[in-house]
């Protein structure tokens, strides 16, 4: 609550992308990245929905944040929203595990307080989705009223929903009729105006666990391996090293630690549910 909309932190810090309720894979992240508080962590949002253990995931992260408020930072993702969690699994999981919707209600109230962005060493801008045409300087983020449900329009919506488009230079409206994509000139201008070197974000699935665009000026970190228990993708966490300086990222400033799904998922996963694992091992009398 005391945190502003832009929180400034220092490296070393390990940045984590979408988790989507894949609790065993969150534990795997601590195994390979180091346990808190010995390792500092920055989470880029989308803690809940789709995976089987959204409750456990957000509970653990909330506890860690309360216990080590200066070593753990949590940014808001587009799934940290009442509307989205009602369709994508978190609401249903809460009702199933607690017998009523109160716990869901408390968590979604808490989501309203999550910050919108973080800056590492005054040179790496971190957000869940991407850039907004309404935000040229990060000072403009500071004046947004974030203590509310994520709206459909405005800078707050853009920061958690927009996507980069490597084929473009400017902003474009999504073919869905709402939402922006942003291109290389937008990224260049934003970094120049704010004197930063790089943009870190999550929000989009990467088969290899991460993706780097715009001549190493933007990266996507994706931290949910074997997404939805059927994609077979790798995941990564990004280790930002201290001592980095200047307007360009140097080799050694950032390291993508790539990992695969935790073995626990095999024995505590979708199991009897209609999971689409290789080879269709669950015969069904479909019609």
């Amino acid at each position: 609550m005391r945190e502003g909309n832009v929180v400034h932190i220092s490296a070393p810090v390990t940045v984590v992308g979408d988790i989507h309720g894949q609790f065993y894979d969150l534990v795997e992240i601590f195994r390979i990245g180091g346990y808190a508080p010995s390792t500092n962590y920055l989470f880029l949002g989308d803690y809940v929905d789709r995976g089987l253990f959204s409750v456990e995931t957000i509970s653990l992260l909330t506890c860690l944040k309360l216990r080590h408020p200066n070593r753990i930072h949590l940014i808001r993702g587009n799934h940290e929203s009442r509307a989205v969690t009602q369709t994508y699994g978190f609401y249903t999981e809460c009702v199933r595990k607690y017998g009523s919707s109160s716990v869901w209600s408390y968590f979604t109230d808490m989501f309203d307080y999550l910050t919108l962005s973080v800056v590492i060493d005054d040179r790496i801008f971190c957000v869940h989705g991407g850039l907004s045409p309404s935000i040229h300087s990060i000072d403009q983020i500071k004046v947004v009223d974030r203590f509310r449900e994520i709206p459909h329009e405005g800078p707050m919506a853009d920061l958690v929903w927009s996507d980069p488009d490597a084929e473009k230079e400017d902003f474009a409206i999504s073919p869905r009729g709402a939402g922006y994509t942003f291109g290389s000139q937008v990224v260049r201008k934003f970094l120049a105006i704010n004197q930063m070197a790089h943009i870190l974000r999550a929000h989009q699935l990467c088969m290899e666990g991460y993706s780097v665009l715009f001549d190493n000026h933007l990266s996507t970190v994706w931290s949910a391996p074997n997404y939805c228990y059927r994609c077979g993708n790798s995941a990564s966490i990004l280790e930002v090293r201290p001592g980095g300086q200047g307007q360009e990222i140097q080799e050694g400033d950032m390291y993508f630690n790539v990992f695969e799904a935790a073995p626990e998922n095999e024995r505590d996963g979708p199991g009897q549910q209609a999971s689409l694992n290789a080879g269709g091992k669950l015969p069904e009398y479909f019609l």
């Binding site: 800078p155 996507d163 474009a172 088969m207 290899e208 269709g280 479909f286």
Partner: protein, 300 residues
Amino acid sequence: MEGRAIPKHHVEETETTRSVTLPAWTITAENHPISNAAHLDRLGLELGIPMPEMTFGHNLIRLKHRESGWEYQFDTLHALQHVKNGPLEDGDGAVKVRYADEWLKSRTDPNSQTPLPQTVPTKPYDWTYTTMYEGHISNEEGLRYPFIKTQDPLHAIPMAELQRHDPILFYAQTLLFEDELHDNGSSSLLVRLRVMPGCIFLLSRFTLRVDQVLFRAFDTRIYHSFSSSPPLVIKEVIGLEAPYDAVKQRLEDPEDLTPLTDSTFIANTLSSMSPQEKQQGANTGWRGIGRKVEVATLQT
């Protein structure tokens, strides 16, 4: 028919590929992880549209009738070739998200606090990935036995037979693609197949949900009875569409929206609507609504 003999069959299996060899048929199913960035780029270049988030570019199910040489296949590249590339026109069933109008209004209103920036044109395409793909004949020889429209009542898929729990000799399912429509719903194409003592039965199902807007199902069913002579393959294609609320109303528990993510629930609910409701769909003018039956005669 009771006490039907089990046809000779041999199953082979690797981590990604499963196949069954029957007296007259060889059936293959490929299941791989999602395509990597390089493969996605190649596919995207070839198709000219952004690829679905989860594109299983190497997945497929193939049916081969060895004597005639007829080969019929369901694969991701061909499925996506049927997704509209370009501005959507009459019959394409264009869809926008529910809040599209408000979004645009908030930015074009003269007093807007968040006016539209300089934007470049967006490449138009069907972002719902709606595809009316029915599978395709995948070899030269197979083209000698095309599917032909039929109104013959004898060419109906015997659902009663398929409801029997006869032993399943071979089962395969493969997901060709799935996309979460940027958290505005879900679009997927799943192909399933089962070989029974008396027949082969396949269901290729495209399912679309656009939150607060509509549902679509496009089903292709392939049926072949081993006792048909000459060998006959029946293909039934059914397209359905309905407004989101019409399906939501039919939920057992109005507080539990989980069935809205279940393709079987969606397809069954859409099928249970009245002919009038089916005809109207969700008022998008989508040409996929309707039903047709075709047969291929593998006469050698």
